[in-house]
């Protein structure tokens, strides 16, 4: 009979063996509302969950940051909380997403560090009291497909608006298009998966153009 090791020791061991999926490989794109059915049809044909059909979701996401209250403080920790509106009993999801790294031209996907975990529904109160502030929130509704380790989501993003006060009222979409994301969560250094993603993205052209999106460039457009 061996004594249980401390949780922190087993976590350090897991880090050492590099088995923690803490890198997200990501490609993003969008498709106009009127063409989404064509894309969904194509995905249905390409992906693994052919028989069961795509899984639908209706999620509420809150984006928090934890930052010092001194001006120009460079210490910022972004945290996201997601919950399924259609499955109220499901655990909530807490996620840290790090800097979006595009790498050089030869790198097929963007990579960002990610720590993803299930949590109890006390998370919003916990983060608020911890010192986090909500930056923005939205509702994402759509479909999720799988292809091996790859995850493909096609989601419509809605403004929260008056959702809190009038929960039954229909929410307002932020655009006339759907966000398409192709991602894999893997331990660091598994760059081969990025190549698989590039090949898969090729198969979705010209319905949707999945790219490494440079967020800095988007900031200039606004």
């Amino acid at each position: 009979m061996t004594s249980p090791g401390s949780a922190v020791d087993s976590l350090s061991a897991a880090i050492k063996c590099n088995i923690i999926p803490n890198q997200e490989y990501l490609l993003q794109g969008s498709v106009l509302d009127q063409y989404v059915e064509v894309l969904l049809h194509r995905l249905r044909g390409l992906c693994d969950n052919v028989d069961s059909g795509p899984e639908s979701f209706n999620d509420h996401e809150l984006c928090f940051t934890l930052r010092g209250n001194t001006p120009n403080s460079s210490m910022v920790l972004p945290l996201r909380v997601r919950r399924a509106l259609d499955v109220p009993d499901a655990p909530w999801q807490l996620r840290y997403v790090g800097q979006h790294e595009l790498g050089d031209k030869n790198r097929p996907t963007a990579v960002r560090s990610s720590i993803d975990m299930a949590c109890s529904s006390t998370i919003v109160e916990f983060l608020t009291e911890l010192g986090c502030r909500v930056d923005f929130e939205y509702i994402a509704r759509g479909y999720m497909f799988r292809k091996g380790r790859m995850k493909i989501t096609v989601s419509k993003i809605f403004k929260m608006g008056s959702m809190a006060s009038k929960p039954n009222e229909s929410v307002e979409p932020i655009s006339q298009s759907y966000l398409v994301e192709l991602s894999v969560l893997a331990p660091s250094g598994q760059d081969a998966i990025a190549e698989d993603m590039r090949i898969f993205a090729e198969q979705l052209k010209p319905l949707v153009q999945l790219e490494k999106i440079d967020y800095k460039r988007l900031a200039h457009i606004q």
């Binding site: 009979m1 061996t2 004594s3 249980p4 090791g5 401390s6 949780a7 922190v8 976590l11 880090i15 923690i20 803490n22 934890l66 010092g68 209250n69 001194t70 403080s73 210490m75 920790l77 807490l94 840290y96 720590i115 993803d116 975990m117 299930a118 949590c119 109890s120 006390t122 998370i123 109160e125 916990f126 009291e129 911890l130 010192g131």
Partner: protein, 207 residues
Amino acid sequence: MGVTVVQNFPITENRTGPSTIELLTKRISALGAIQQGHFLVDCETYTSVPQLGNPRTVHILHNSEQPATVFSILETENKTIPLATDGLFDLLMIKMANFYTSKKQTKAESKGPRYEIGDFLVKLGTVTVSQNFKGVLVEVEYRPCVVPAMCWELMREFLQGFLGSTAQSAPPLYLQNRMQDIYSPIDTIHQYLEQFTIYRKAPGLRT
């Protein structure tokens, strides 16, 4: 998962930690308990940096009974908020190092043998605070029931059976306001934190 009670077992002057555990082991074995592995509950405490404004404390606890879960208890001036997450929360605490720092001298743990005896689970814990021996914690779980009020009397009788007169006659403070509620693993964590806080404040051994 049933109802759990955690209580301190005072160490008398002529005994050491190991001899106290040995004494309790003898008593519980005489009742027919069978050892089923070991257990470990640990607690690390983090405090907010001044730049974050009002001081807050986050206690991070692990319990080998729920090995895939990290329990956190956040204490602010007027609120206590519990949180249960997957194991990766420990990794997130490292990311928070700029905002919350751990007081290394306060790492507390209770570990030792775990026994099964009928419907009860008994754990005899040696408590250390930053590696210094502080005392003995006895955890008893009555597994068929989830409402404390419905099994407290039975548990008290069982506790008295092997702890003798040192068994508490009243439920732990934390449970007293929750006797009619459904018991869950976070309630055990609260009791451990309550005990660890007392051990940390005690200058030497807790008697």
